[in-house]
Subunit: 214 residues, 2 copies
DNA sequence: TGCAGAGTGAACAATCCGTGAAATCGCGCT
DNA sequence: AGCGCGATTTCACGGATTGTTCACTCTGCA
């Protein structure tokens, strides 16, 4: 029930929350769709929190907040030495945890949270320019990537081909063929849509343009 | 006497410590010679800690660790909201404070705090400027070394040639040939890659730039 | 059913990267 | 100061990838 309350608080602050009930699934879930921050209970079934933290640190710099029931100093120091960014001692108030999350994200934002778009089954990382689609990395060409990022940055908003040419393409290179956009959208669909003929994300708005559906 | 013990611990860790006995002198001392990190007691004579923090935040992003005697949540949350990077509740052990200092500096100063980069089969020592590749020391020229360190310090992040020229080369020396970067990357690959044609570490991101894969 | 707009495939054009080699710079040495 | 050598930068070319165009087909709407 603690999880529900905490989740509610975080979602009220505008964060998307994913839960994992033990260390193993936490790591799997992390792989599948890497979050911007991890809140980690030291006492977890299957794999304990410290091990999870060690595993995480081997491959990523994701900010981690430890939840620890023990008030003894060694645990907290150990956590920080292992690379945790902060810890909260149980029992804690949801408000405090939320404050910590904000604080840690504020500190680390320039490197991590920046330029990351996440949707259900589609992760776009503006820093590494990687796109992960249902867990698998898909290779996009520069223009394909730029176009996808532009559309995904304004979900549900419809853009005409002319608008896209102006925004995504070099605006100086005027009067290009709008069908250029069409072709790129098609290639994007081939790469990220499960059924390109019935797009899940890249929708055609007949007579107008395209729209990204989150 | 707490101050002496803490100072001793921090100096043992290699930090230089400057003391100030009240808020006013703290701010003056900060102006005179800005430190890399501030440990701030909330209860100070003359000007209290929160005011000092607010003043500091007006002009700098220096990492701040708060010392607070009160265990009530509002104070801690207030501190974090005001822009503190961490806090320690009194009474605290010097060891814990030292651990916090290390942790905060590690987060905020990845370039100075960690001068050693280690990857699977590739060790980079920023102090001796030695690079060890699959056990063997490889000789790098200064520019080659700087370029490698820069890329390896932000693994997986893509940098354009222009960015690399700006960051690794003298930023004042504008308008250099981007192919300079290309050539240096090539020579780096020749020296550290097992198969330079299929790089393990130095990846080309077509149309964008280069990326270090850990 | 007609028709404008959207999708398809393939050819063509532009761009970018890797390579080799030559030119220039920087710095210690005599 | 002049020399010499390694480091760095520049440049042109070839091949590979990416971007654009175009003719054609298909689809949704009146």
């Amino acid at each position: 029930m603690v999880r529900e309350v905490v989740t509610a608080y975080l979602e009220r602050d505008g964060y998307r929350v994913t839960l994992a009930s033990d260390g193993r699934t936490a790591l799997e879930s992390f792989e599948a769709s890497p979050p911007d921050l991890v809140v980690l209970d030291v006492m977890l079934p299957e794999v304990d929190g410290f091990s999870v933290l060690t595993q995480l640190r081997k491959r990523t710099d994701v900010p981690v907040i430890l939840l620890t029931a023990r008030t003894e100093e060694p645990d907290r120091v150990l956590g920080l030495e292992l690379g945790a960014d902060d810890y909260v001692v149980k029992p804690f108030s949801p408000r405090e945890l939320a404050a910590r999350v904000r604080s840690v994200l504020r500190r680390t934002r320039p490197t991590t949270a920046e330029k990351k778009l996440q949707f259900d089954g589609l992760d776009i990382d503006g820093v590494t320019r990687e796109v992960r689609c249902r867990g698998e990395i898909v290779d996009l060409t520069p223009k394909e990537f730029d176009l996808l990022v532009f559309l995904a940055s304004s979900p549900r908003q419809v853009f005409s081909r002319a608008q896209l040419l102006e925004q995504v393409w070099d605006s100086s290179a005027d009067y290009q063929d709008p069908s250029t956009v069409t072709v790129h959208v098609r290639r994007l669909r081939r790469k990220i849509e499960e059924v390109p003929e019935e797009p899940r994300w890249l929708h055609t708005v007949w007579g107008v343009g395209y729209r990204f559906e989150p």
